[in-house]
Symmetry: D2
Subunit: 367 residues, 4 copies
Amino acid sequence: MIGYGFMGKAHSNAFLCANKFFELPVRFNRKVICGRTEETVRAMKEKWEWEEYATDWKQVVQRTDIDIVDVATPNDTHVPIVIAAAEQGKHILCEKPLGMNVSECREAVNAVNKAGVLHMIWHNYRKSPSLTLAKQLIDEERLGEIYHVRAEFLQGWLTDPEYPLAWRLRKEKSGSGTHGDICVHIIDAARYLVGEIREVVGMLETFIKERPLPEDPKHKGTVTVDDMSAFLCRFENGAAGVFEATRFATGRKARNRIEVNGSRGSLVWNTENLNELLFFSKDDPGHIQGFRRIPVTEREHPYMKGYWPPGHAIGYEHTFINELVDFAEAYSSDKMPTPNLEDGLRNQMVLEAVLESAAKGTWIKIG
Amino acid sequence: MIGYGFMGKAHSNAFLCANKFFELPVRFNRKVICGRTEETVRAMKEKWEWEEYATDWKQVVQRTDIDIVDVATPNDTHVPIVIAAAEQGKHILCEKPLGMNVSECREAVNAVNKAGVLHMIWHNYRKSPSLTLAKQLIDEERLGEIYHVRAEFLQGWLTDPEYPLAWRLRKEKSGSGTHGDICVHIIDAARYLVGEIREVVGMLETFIKERPLPEDPKHKGTVTVDDMSAFLCRFENGAAGVFEATRFATGRKARNRIEVNGSRGSLVWNTENLNELLFFSKDDPGHIQGFRRIPVTEREHPYMKGYWPPGHAIGYEHTFINELVDFAEAYSSDKMPTPNLEDGLRNQMVLEAVLESAAKGTWIKIG
Amino acid sequence: MIGYGFMGKAHSNAFLCANKFFELPVRFNRKVICGRTEETVRAMKEKWEWEEYATDWKQVVQRTDIDIVDVATPNDTHVPIVIAAAEQGKHILCEKPLGMNVSECREAVNAVNKAGVLHMIWHNYRKSPSLTLAKQLIDEERLGEIYHVRAEFLQGWLTDPEYPLAWRLRKEKSGSGTHGDICVHIIDAARYLVGEIREVVGMLETFIKERPLPEDPKHKGTVTVDDMSAFLCRFENGAAGVFEATRFATGRKARNRIEVNGSRGSLVWNTENLNELLFFSKDDPGHIQGFRRIPVTEREHPYMKGYWPPGHAIGYEHTFINELVDFAEAYSSDKMPTPNLEDGLRNQMVLEAVLESAAKGTWIKIG
Amino acid sequence: MIGYGFMGKAHSNAFLCANKFFELPVRFNRKVICGRTEETVRAMKEKWEWEEYATDWKQVVQRTDIDIVDVATPNDTHVPIVIAAAEQGKHILCEKPLGMNVSECREAVNAVNKAGVLHMIWHNYRKSPSLTLAKQLIDEERLGEIYHVRAEFLQGWLTDPEYPLAWRLRKEKSGSGTHGDICVHIIDAARYLVGEIREVVGMLETFIKERPLPEDPKHKGTVTVDDMSAFLCRFENGAAGVFEATRFATGRKARNRIEVNGSRGSLVWNTENLNELLFFSKDDPGHIQGFRRIPVTEREHPYMKGYWPPGHAIGYEHTFINELVDFAEAYSSDKMPTPNLEDGLRNQMVLEAVLESAAKGTWIKIG
C-alpha cells in the first residue's frame, strides 16, 4: 500500500479485518506500507501491523513478492503510480479520484487495459449494505422505469471565514474543491444505480473568496476552488437529475443522500442513517402504501452475514472491508471487480462537463 | 349543547363543519347552547352561530324541539345531565370522562339503556383517520395474534414548581390528575384496538407535592392528584400491556402514542404525527421488511374523502367532526354508535383498578 | 367570492372560521358566492352558509354592498376579474397564479395600484405557523448570512400512463404543468424567506408524452405541459438555489420542502410535517449542536393562540384562515397585506425566466 | 481470553483494534485464546491473530505471563473462572451477566475485592459515544432533577412457533430468557444515567409455551424461560421508571431505547440510531424549543477523536473497543474502571427483584 493518510488508515483497517469477518478465497498479506516520510510510515507500519515499510514507491511496485498495489496517496500522484504498477503487472486498487483530469484518467485506464491487470477504485459507499440493497431492488425491477434522481452531499465545516487557506482550498494542490471531493460521490452513486449521464448544466460558487494564509494568518490569500457545486442533468435512459454538493450547509456533517423515483417505486439512501434504506412500492395495497424504513442489518442483506447478529449496526469503515471482500472474490475468479478505473474515468467526465458548463453557461453533452 | 369551555369550542366547530365537509343523511341544527354564565354563553352563541343560548340545562333537556343533547360541562356534572336528558328521551353525546367513578358511570349507562336512546362518548382520537386505519388493519388480520401493547401519553407542562394549585390539581374538583385526564385516552385506544383488559398492577406519583395557592401565591397548598400514572396489564386475549401517562415529561407536548405487536405485523400510532401510521408486515419479502410510514391522507383512508385532495393534512379538531359523522350515520340507521357510554364505563373500571392497585401494591382483576 | 372549486371550498371555510377562532377587528360577512353553473353554486351557497349566490361575476363586482372580492376561478379568468373589481374600488383577494403570463400579471398590478385598493394573493403556505416561524428566525438573524436554498415540491400522482389527458395537462387550458402549479409554491416560499432571485438556469421534462383522450380513451393526444421542472439560481444576496418540482415522484403525496443554510444556522420546513420546523444553531455549545425538531404548536408560535391548547396539530386549511386573519388586520389599519399581487407578478417572472432558460439552454437574468 | 463465541469475536476485535485507533498508555498483547474445542479455538486463534491457543482455562489463569483474563464463556461458568483468575491476581474483564444469580455474583465480587485486582464488566452500550454523551449531559446538570426513566429493549425474532426449543429457551442452560439477556441492558443503562433502583413491581410472560425439540422436531418441549418482562419502579432519587424487554415485538430488530425526563431537559438514546442522541432543553428560548437530534460523530464527542473525520458513523463493535480504551486508562493509573463487577451484582439484584415480584404479585424492595 502506498500512502498513509486518512485513507491509509481506512485501507489498513480493511486489509486487517477482511479475512477476519469473512471467509474469503484469498488471504490478504499486509506486506509493505510505503510513504515519503520515514518516521511517519514506520509508526503506521507498527500500529497497523504491516510486515515492512518503505519510502520509495518506485521500488515497491517492482517487487516480485507483491501482487496488488493499493494507491492511497495525494491526488496528483495517483495516475503515475497506477501506470508504473500496471506496467509491472500488479493488480491495482486506487483511491478516488482516479486522476486530476479526464486525459490523465484516460492514460491510467489505457495502462491497466494494456497490462491486462485487475483494477478497482475505492468508491466505498457503493459497498455499504444499504446502497448495495438499493441497487439490488432496482435490478429486481421494483422501481420500474426511472424518472428522477436527486442527490446531495452536504457538509457544513467551511463557513468560518477564519478557517485558513489550507491545501484543500488551493486548486494547484487539490485539483478541485467540493466538486471533485464530494460531488463525485453522488455522481458515482447515481451512475451505479441509474446508469450514465447524457448532458449537464451546472454552477459552482465560492462564497468566501479570501482566507487567512496558514503560514501568515494576518494576510489573506485567494480561495481558488469552489465551495459548492450543483447541476441538472439528463440520463441516457431519460431520467432527470438534480445534484448538489457543498461545504457550507451549516449543521450537516456528511449528508450524502440519493433519492430515486421510478414508475413502480422509489428509494432513499442517506449516510446519516447508513444502516437503513427507505423504499416505497406501488405494488402494496393502496391503503398501506408508504415508505418502508428497512433496517439493513439482517442476514438476508448484502455483506451482513460477515458481521454481527441481526439488528447490529456497522459503520463507515466497513464499506472498505466490503469492497475488499468483493475484490477478493473477483480476484479468485479472475473477473474484473466494480467499481474500477473505468468508473473513475466516467465520473471525471461528468465532473469536467459540469466545470465546462459553469464556465460557458450552457448545457454540455458528455462523451 | 351544554358547556362552553375548550370542549364547547371543539364540539361547536364539529357541529358547524360536519355537514359542510360531508354529505350526511342528517343535518345538524345548532339549536341552543347552554351555560351557567349568561355573558359568556351569549358571546359563544354569537361567535359559533348557534340559534339560541340558555343558562339552565334542566330546561334545555326538556325542550321538545331538541333531539340530541351534547354534554361538555365540567366532569362532576356529566352524569346528572346525561340521566336527565335520557329520561327525556334525548340521544346523548357526552364528553369524557363519563363520570367521577365507576358507580356513577354505571348509573348513567343504566339510564340510557332504560331510555333506549342512542349515546356516544367523545373519545375523539378513535376517529383520527390514522387510528381508524390502525383498527382496520387489525380487523383485516394483518397483525395476527396480538402479543404486545405499549402506550404512553406524555405531556411536560407541569414541571414548574411555581405553577399554581389550579382546580385540575385538586382532587375534589377534578376527580383525578394525569390518570383520569390523559391516561384514559391510551386506555380507550388500547381497548379499541386490542379488546378488554383483564388485570392490572400500577403506580401513581406526585412529584411536586405543594404548590402556590392561586388565591394567595405566598402560601402553598397540597397537591391532591397524581402527576403521573403507569401500569402493567394483561388483556383478555393474552396480550401484555405497558401504559404510562404524565405531565412531567419535559419537551413532550402531547405525545399520545400506542404500539401494537402481533405475530404477523406491528403498528405505531402517535399524535405527534397525527396524519401518519407506521405499519410493519412479516408478509413482505425478508429483504424489504421495514416499518412503513403511511401518510393517512389519501382517498382510500377513513374520513379523508370529505376533506382535501391527497396529501393534505388535517388537524386535531377534525377528529371531532369525524366522530359526529359516525354519529350521523348511526342515528339515521338507528344503530348504536361507538364509542359510547359503555366504553366510558369500561375505561373508568380500568382507571379505578389501577388506583386500587396503587393503593394496595398488588395486582387487581377487572370486572 | 367568485369560484366554487377546491379553492372555493378552502376559502369558504376560511371566511366561515376566521372570526370564530380569532378576535379580529373586522367581521367577515359571507355575502355572495358566484359561479357559472347555477345548480352548483346554489348547492355551495347552501352548504357553506353564504347569504346569496350569483352567476354573473360582472354584476357582483359592481355591487355597492360588497367591499372585498375574492377570486378563486380558473386561472385564465383571474386577471380580468381582478381588473374589473379594482376598477370598482373593491379590495382584492386572488388565488394563485395571478395570471397566465408576466404581461397579464403586470396589468393586474397596474390596475390595483391605480385603484389604490388593498390586495392579497393566496400563497397560503406562507401562513402556516411553521413557515412564519422560519421567517421570524431569519428576521431575528438566527441564520446569519444565507448561503443555500434548496427546495422541492414532490408529488407522485401522474406516473400512470393510463391517466387521461385532463385539462391540467393541456397548455391552452392550464397555462402550465407542474411548473406553474406547484413549482410556484417553492419559489414563493424562497422569496419570502431569502429575497429576490437574480438569475436562473432550468429544465422541464414531459416523461409521458401521450395520454388517452378523456372523451375517447381509445385514442391518445399529446401532453402539452411539463411533468417536472427544475432550476438552479443565484439570489440577489448571493445565495445559491436548487429547485425541483414534479408529479412523478412515486410515493410522495405533497412533499413541499425548503431548506435554508446560513452562516449561523439552518432550517428545514416540510409540509409532510406541517406542524414542525427543524432548526440548527451554531450558537449552541459544540457537543449539543443538532437540528431541533420544534413542534410549532405552542402559544408563543404564530397564529397558534387562536386554536387549541399546546401540542394540538392544525391542518392544511388553517393556513387559509391565518391568511385571512392577516388580511383583516391589514384592512383595519389600511396597510397593504402580504403576499400580494406584486408577489404574484414576481413569482411569474421567475417561472417565465425558467421557461425561457429551458428553451434556450442558457442562464437567464430576471427583471 | 476465555471463550470464542459471538462475544469472543467482539472481544477479539476490540483487543485487535484498540491500540490502532487510540494512543493508549498500554499495549494489549493478544497472548492466548482458550476454549474447550481444540479445532474451533485453533481456527479462532488463526483468524483473529492470537499468539497461542489453549483448551484448559484452569491452566491459563495460572500463567505468569498473563496480566488480564477476559471471560467470554457461557453464563454458568463466569463466576468460577472469575474467582480462579482473581485468586491468581489477574485483572478481570467479564462478559455480562456476571453470574446466574445474586448469591453467585456476590461471591465473585468478594473474590475480586479480596484479591485487590481491577475488574470490569462488558456492559458495552455504556461506551457508545451517544450514551456516554447522555451521561455527560446529566453530569453537566442539563436535565435538572430527574422525574422519569422509560426504557425498552425490543426484539422480534421469536414469534415463529416453529422456532425450536434452543438452549436459550431452557432455563437450566440459559438461566433466564429475555429478562436476563436483554432487560439487563436497559437496567444497566438506567443505573448508569440515573442511579440505583429502590423498588419494583413486574411481570413476565411466555407467549408460546411449547416448541419443537431441536433433536426431535416432531415433538414439542416446554419453554421454561420468559418471552418478555416488564416492570415499574421507583429510583432512590424519586424518579419513576417503566421498563420492558421482549423478543416478540415483530419488526423490531434491536430497539434498545431509554428516555429520561428532568426538570430542565430530556434526552432519548436509541440503538436504532446509535450515532445520535436526542436532547431537549428548557434553557432554550420558548419559540425554538425542540428535541435536538445530535449527530454524535464530532471531535468534541466521547471517543470520536480515535476514529474518522467528523460526520462518519461507527458501529456496534466500537463500543467494545471504547470500553477497552477506558480499561487501559484505568489500568495505567491503577484506578477501578466502570462498569465493573459491582455493577454486575447490582444489575442482578434488580433482575431478581423483578422475578420475585412477578412470582408474588407485589412490590419488592431492593437491597
